[in-house]
Symmetry: C3
Subunit: 411 residues, 3 copies
């Protein structure tokens, strides 16, 4: 609970802590997790502490804040974070909380400011977070050393990640892996064409698990499956000669496409089905201008996942970035962002429904799956069940990563 | 809390457990219970464990699922249960949770299926609960021995009871008592004419207490009191010569009507007032066809209560079955089912408003009483008050049963 | 939690208790409080116990219940309290909970009754709270000694305060201080012209802190600041010769106006700005009849605050009384009551919008400030910040009072 006293929290976490540690030790591998991982408020608090307050989290895209002073806010559990471009074009992030009496400073989801002025008593911070003005304070008060509490921020090929930890884990490997693969799509010169929020009444891990397999796609996602290639060897896609030829062609066209992966991420380029050019209802590209001016046709989709908050698809004509943020033990905010070339003009170069229909339907279908999953997991009748080691290998990867992280955190 | 870890739950229940045990020991008999019994989340959790996960619970009526594959779902706290008629005409019940990743299987309240297909990954169970199909599982996976987790199900004269315990208590005495008395109303050949749900913002025990006395009827239920006989000697109704003559007449007409009772149930047949033929606004029968083709007129109502979930009235022309299921510490779902002869046709043989008006009004009046009771009980100003040992003998019976059950459970 | 068992509560409060005591010991003075004080459910429970169940609380105005049997209800956390004028014109208060099975008795916010009749089983209490009738009780039951549980009630110059403690603190000093200063406004002969409720999603202390400074007024309250005098020496207003002349004039006109204060209250009379006659949009009086028939013009406003529940302004033409009651850790009910001379007639003597517009806007502006403050305080990014010892001296006074009270309560 956000406002809980340290000692109370300590007492509660001690029990959740011991309980989670026991369950991590005794769980069956390749089985879904025991109920409390998906449902218990104490376990959720531990997830915030062990995952969301320690790992790099996808926040948004640099092209959303193209000018100095442009900002957006993002909510991590009870914490609102401001992400802003400063006057030196550096992306910075801060807790959206005034150092005076703690008021939220930016109420808007997005905007542009010259400085951050708290609406309560007009304490004013510059874009580097330093307190520049605090009116009517008593003699002896000094603004020196008072500033917005910073949050780490990094970018990778135009995507922004933040980390709330004092000492963030190494971001370089992911940046090095994603950078060259995503660079041709030139997201720095893209623009946000559409954004959609869905609140799913399910634990964030059920949302992530759902995104890590396509075992459910055939029956639940008819629109997506018009173009989306599902059946491949997840461990070694290049074993399929069609896929290996596709990857070779893309590499030759200047699109580095050999799969890369680390503990908490995985990046691959995959063809679409039936020679589809894009993930749309008709399989045709939705946007007349290619991202990054890519010339090569039929380049499939560059897919990347980064635990715990995002999975993405960059196509030739658009990219969709999906961000999953925990709200509560059984509630997750899923935000989808559609990016197109910044010179693409709605009406002339693309029709919004053509661009967004497939994923709007798909994401809502996933919401229903996740919510039913949560309902069933909440029952006494639930017990961990076996993942398919073939069709749910991606789920197993995620769950193993999660368990390792929590084991590390719990000590 | 549904998803709580075993150790957390243990820690919390230990305190609630000790606290409830103390209060059971020190409570004043024939007084309402101390506040936590009606309001505390930990006590509610103990009620689920000690009562709702151990006792037989009224679920519905066999005629609601007349064909093999017909099912309905019922929610017991966080647990959705499927009740289904299998191909051998046996009524069975299962947890509505897939053994794969725990998705809820049946979203609908009612329906008919050939098999249970989980909407997530199409795991398919036959009507006996056995897993018949699980696609794309890895080599070595066997569906043998995997099935929907069963819940005990029994019927008594066409009414269905379920029990979530591994070892259910003996159902036979209640079945033996209710069977002959209810048989003439032939509910197996009835049909559901109407069903209404009310969520009452009150603890389930306040709902049950309210149903166990008619001390409040005169002022709160003017419509019901047009026909409902209230003032009789609860301990020995036959002391009243009018009632004993009524019972003798019913017995002679082939309607066994001598009152029967056990620890957790009580069954009596009582006349109505003013020679009313049925509980309706005008005292006339609402349905042209008698249940079970009963020939005798003016047979009053067969009333039965079964703790903790139901009270009922079977009249000559219709039966109303009321089911009370706990949602939370201060929230209860009350469902009323009106049954008529299966050949009775709405419009021709009955008018729906004539059939339902009295109890629709009565049940909503009771909702208001229960909710006000809860509000007052939540106050610091509440202290247990004395039940009338005359007018509230039924409430005392219920409270004593509840306390015995919980004492037994807490050990 | 209202219905928690004593032992459970004890266990929880032991931790919250220890935790709050530590934080009270280690907090930085003249800084806002650590997060749990504004956000934690356990701390909120301690606030109820230590403040709201021990101190005098502003409930309403005697002129709201002008006749014997007139009552209103007021909600203190989970407790509904009835405030009533009895047949001897004494103001009395009771828990709004029947001594039978605990039903809430009065559902209405206001009304007039001859006796209190519980709507459940018609137990009937006279205006002194004594049980006069309980129907159908068993032999041996006696109503003697059974009555509505009393709550202490006192009045000061026509304003009503209640105390839920068995042994209330001394009310006399506040009564003695407020009495002569408020008497000329003759609230006993006023009437309620309008009442407005706002639920603010913020901790009650954030609501009170917001009311204790006008540092935020310039930017947030343009309508109020047309007439409201803000910039004065809070510690010694009379240091300003304009103010000291104003006070001398008011004193001479029979309006005792020298400031008075105690631990938990402060009373001052202050001029308005720009020779405004009242706090209205145009600075003119809204009501043609003066409260108490005060003859002197331009008498500014008599302001008084009483911790923890009220701040008020009595002007020549109207008084506004604001009551703040805690609902939950992050939710507070704010009620504003506008009083005018009882012979003033709407339409003839005042226009309602002229009377209420300024405070309606101001109170809603404050709601937004409080809610943003709560949102920011809930973040990991929050840490206690420095109050301005000049502009926020009133906030510091309140916070120091609160901490002293809780230190006393926690022992």
């Amino acid at each position: 609970m956000p406002g809980e006293a340290p000692m109370l929290a300590a007492a509660r976490w001690r029990s959740a802590h011991d309980s989670m540690r026991d369950l991590l030790r005794t769980r069956a591998r390749h089985y879904s997790l025991p109920q409390p991982f998906y449902a218990d408020p104490g376990f959720f608090e531990l997830d915030l502490q062990g995952i969301f307050y320690r790992r790099w989290l996808f926040a948004g895209v640099a092209c959303e804040i193209p000018q100095p002073g442009c900002f957006f806010t993002v909510q991590i559990g009870p914490n609102s974070i401001i992400v802003v471009r400063d006057r030196t074009d550096t992306i910075r992030a801060y807790f959206n909380t005034c150092r005076h009496r703690g008021s939220r400073i930016c109420a808007a989801e997005k905007g542009r400011v010259g400085a951050f002025v708290c609406p309560y008593h007009q304490w004013t911070y510059d874009l580097t977070g330093a307190l520049r003005h605090a009116g009517r304070m008593h003699e002896g008060f000094s603004p020196d050393g008072i500033g917005l509490r910073p949050v780490h921020a990094r970018t990778a090929a135009g995507t922004i990640y933040i980390c709330l930890a004092d000492e963030p884990p190494d971001f370089a490997p992911f940046e090095a892996a994603l950078g060259p693969m995503l660079a041709p799509h030139d997201l720095a010169n893209a623009k946000l064409a559409h954004e959609a929020h869905i609140v799913e009444r399910g634990n964030w891990k059920l949302v992530m698990e759902n995104s890590r397999e396509c075992y459910h796609c055939r029956s639940s996602h008819p629109e997506l499956m018009r173009t989306f290639l599902e059946a491949y060897n997840f461990q070694d896609p290049t074993a399929d000669p069609v896929i290996s030829a596709f990857i070779a062609r893309c590499n030759a066209a200047g699109l580095p496409s050999d799969g890369r992966g680390g503990d908490d991420y995985r990046i691959t380029r995959m063809p679409l089905t039936r020679n589809a050019a894009s993930i749309t209802m008709d399989g045709k590209e939705a946007v007349a201008r290619a991202l990054g001016g890519i010339a090569e046709a039929n380049i499939g989709s560059l897919r990347w996942v980064h635990f715990p908050t995002t999975f993405n698809h960059a196509l030739r004509d658009y990219a969709i970035l999906v961000r999953m943020l925990p709200i509560g033990p059984q509630e997750t905010l899923v935000t989808a962002k559609w990016l197109v070339h910044r010179d693409a003009e709605e009406g002339r170069d693309y029709k919004l429904s053509h661009l967004t229909d497939t994923w709007m339907k798909t994401n809502d279908q996933d919401r229903i799956l996740v919510e039913r999953n949560q309902q069933g997991v909440n029952s006494l009748g639930y017990m961990p069940g076996p993942y398919s080691q073939d069709a749910e290998a991606g789920v197993i990867n995620f769950v193993e990563w999660y368990c390792r992280e929590m084991e590390g955190y719990l000590g």
